[in-house]
Amino acid sequence: MQGIAKQDLNKVLETLSGGGAALLVPMEIDGVTRFARWEQGAKTALGAGNTLLPPKEALFPQNEKVFNYEMSNEEAKIVPSAAAAEETIILGIRPCDVRAIQALDNVFLTKDYVDELYKTRRRHTLLIALGCTQPAPTCFCSSVGGDPLQAEGADIMLWDLGETYGLEALSDKGKDLLKKIDKFMSKSRGKKPAAGKFSLEVDSRGIAEKLHNMFEDPIWDRWYQKCLGCGICTFICPTCHCFDMQEKHTGQWDGYRYRCWDSCMFQEYSLMAGGHNPRPTKKERLRNRFLHKLCFFQERYGMLLCTGCGRCVRECPVGMDITKFIKEVSEVSLNE
């Protein structure tokens, strides 16, 4: 396997960002681990496990302008916004987050309509994934069809081999990029590492089929009560992609329409103009979120909308644990 010495990492990062590309790597900023633009001298948090904020904001920012408008008595002038077409390299993304991007690709790039803003960003983004040798206590990617060491869909795979990072190009774009850092590459003696043991495991096989018939099951009554109805789980989730569209006035007659992350856990999310809300309480909202993750998305796109990154398990202040939910579902007997 080819590899680069860890002591050369800064030089490699410098080379990668040299061509004017935005190089996003895990960093700790004001106490929050997230993917941020690397600049000379910046300290990476590559070894710190999964970042608190997933890299989805690089492809799907929390706020994004869709168009500018200018109103007059005679006409509405609409000027569409173009997504930034900056070449971007996301380095250190974990396999669970790469799968999350595959889920986002399904949403934004398939089923009749292509989301232009996402497509532009996605086309200019290259993924250098870092395999996980030691899963965190909240990680469960292997329980939902993921592989901690291999990121299908990434352009380059990295593995931490101790003194070096082992490298393998998975796509042509990845091969081209490796040429740029050729001079740092050596034959690494290590081979692809083995994955550490998961402390959180659950059998999710058949979960979508089972949940399809559990819309009115009493399980929801047991689960919704402790939910705070906040948006933590949705905002830190690498696959949650629901958005709202709103307007901002910049003058009396002009402004812009933007889209921004929204959360299905908020009451307003499904509130209709006339006042009717088909999901009036936390129960319906929690049910919709879990079913979207574990049933509806599977039915629509052929994959679960949970990649086992463990962020919600880690951050939910009331200990809402999706793996515990999956386990409980598997224990429900549906005798009709």
């Binding site: 009560q225 948006g231 901002k248 921004c260 009331v318 644990d321």
Partner: protein, 297 residues
């Protein structure tokens, strides 16, 4: 501290069996060793799930708001800090005193699950006490129908306003840089509001969309509107339970601003502790006295 779980279960069982309450809110053991999340039970046979260990950190009192119109009676477990939140909700007349059966639990401090995880600990003894417990002044419930366990002595370390004084010592530019870097992080998940016992309005201004008071666009300016408005709304009503800061996934020091306001109120109107006495005279900002300072006039 001896484990009160046995007594808790016995009492909860009795309350449910004799129909004194319709449901019990307590804590149970989660999937992971450092989790003791909230538990809701309605059947006596479920009471064996109740625990009160190092990680029973969540305040449960805001859940009472979810059922404020149901007419149900709830048996609820409260620690000292939680009990002040309950007083807050009762004083704000969001629920009736008769709708809750309050079981007090003296508390010598809890631990934060996130800290357990980030510290790399493998058992509770390796986890430091939660930040919010370090400055606890009321380890014993201030309101209860029954209490389980012996009273605990308050052992707050040092000056509860130390962090506030540190910020006060900064220059205006430094303060601005500090707060803007904090508020820039806000995701507007609203967890701090949803968990706050002082945020008990039926309809929050931030949820109103006609007209929209707080834009959904996430930026520093809107985030500051959100945080400053909330701090001012809770002024004189914040019970220092610290839940807002504990639930914040982004580590925003929400309590520092709340404490600053408490310090100002104390300086202006004399020492005042919110949510300590149920039948007290209105709090300083809820009433007017001719002796109030009027420096701005």
């Amino acid at each position: 501290m001896s484990d009160p779980s046995g007594e808790m279960r016995e009492l909860a069982k009795k309350l449910l069996e004799n129909g004194e309450v319709d449901r019990i809110i307590g804590w149970e053991k989660g999937n992971l060793w450092y989790q003791s999340p909230p538990l809701f039970i309605t059947r006596a046979e479920e009471t064996d799930r109740l625990v009160f260990d190092d990680f029973a950190i969540n305040s449960l009192v805001t859940y009472l708001l979810d059922e404020r119109d149901s007419g149900k009676k709830t048996g609820i477990f409260v620690k000292g800090c939680d009990s002040r939140g309950l007083v807050r909700i009762l004083q704000d007349k969001q629920i009736a005193r008769e709708s809750v059966y309050v079981i007090g639990l003296p508390c010598s401090g809890k631990k934060d699950p996130r800290q357990a995880l980030s510290s790399g600990a493998s058992e509770s003894s390796q986890v430091p006490p939660a930040a919010k417990c370090e400055e606890c002044l009321y380890p014993n419930p201030v309101i209860y129908d029954v209490i389980i366990g012996e009273a605990v002595e308050a052992k707050a370390k040092g000056d509860r306003f130390a962090a506030v004084k540190e910020i006060e010592a900064k220059t205006a530019d430094e303060k601005y840089a500090y707060w803007t870097s904090q508020y820039s992080k806000c995701l507007r998940c609203l967890a701090c509001r949803n968990v706050c016992p002082a945020c008990n309005c039926r309809e929050c201004a931030f949820d109103i969309s006609k007209p929209r008071i707080l834009a959904k666009e996430n930026n520093l300016s809107h985030n500051m509107v959100y945080h400053l408005t909330r701090a001012f709304h809770a002024a004189g009503r914040c019970v220092e339970c610290g839940e807002c800061e504990r639930v914040c996934p982004m580590g925003i020091p929400i309590m520092q601003l709340n404490k600053k306001i408490i310090k100002e109120i104390n300086d202006l109107f004399g020492p005042y502790e919110a949510g300590v006495k149920l039948d007290e005279t209105p709090p300083p900002l809820g009433t007017y006295q001719t002796s109030d300072p009027e420096e701005f006039m």
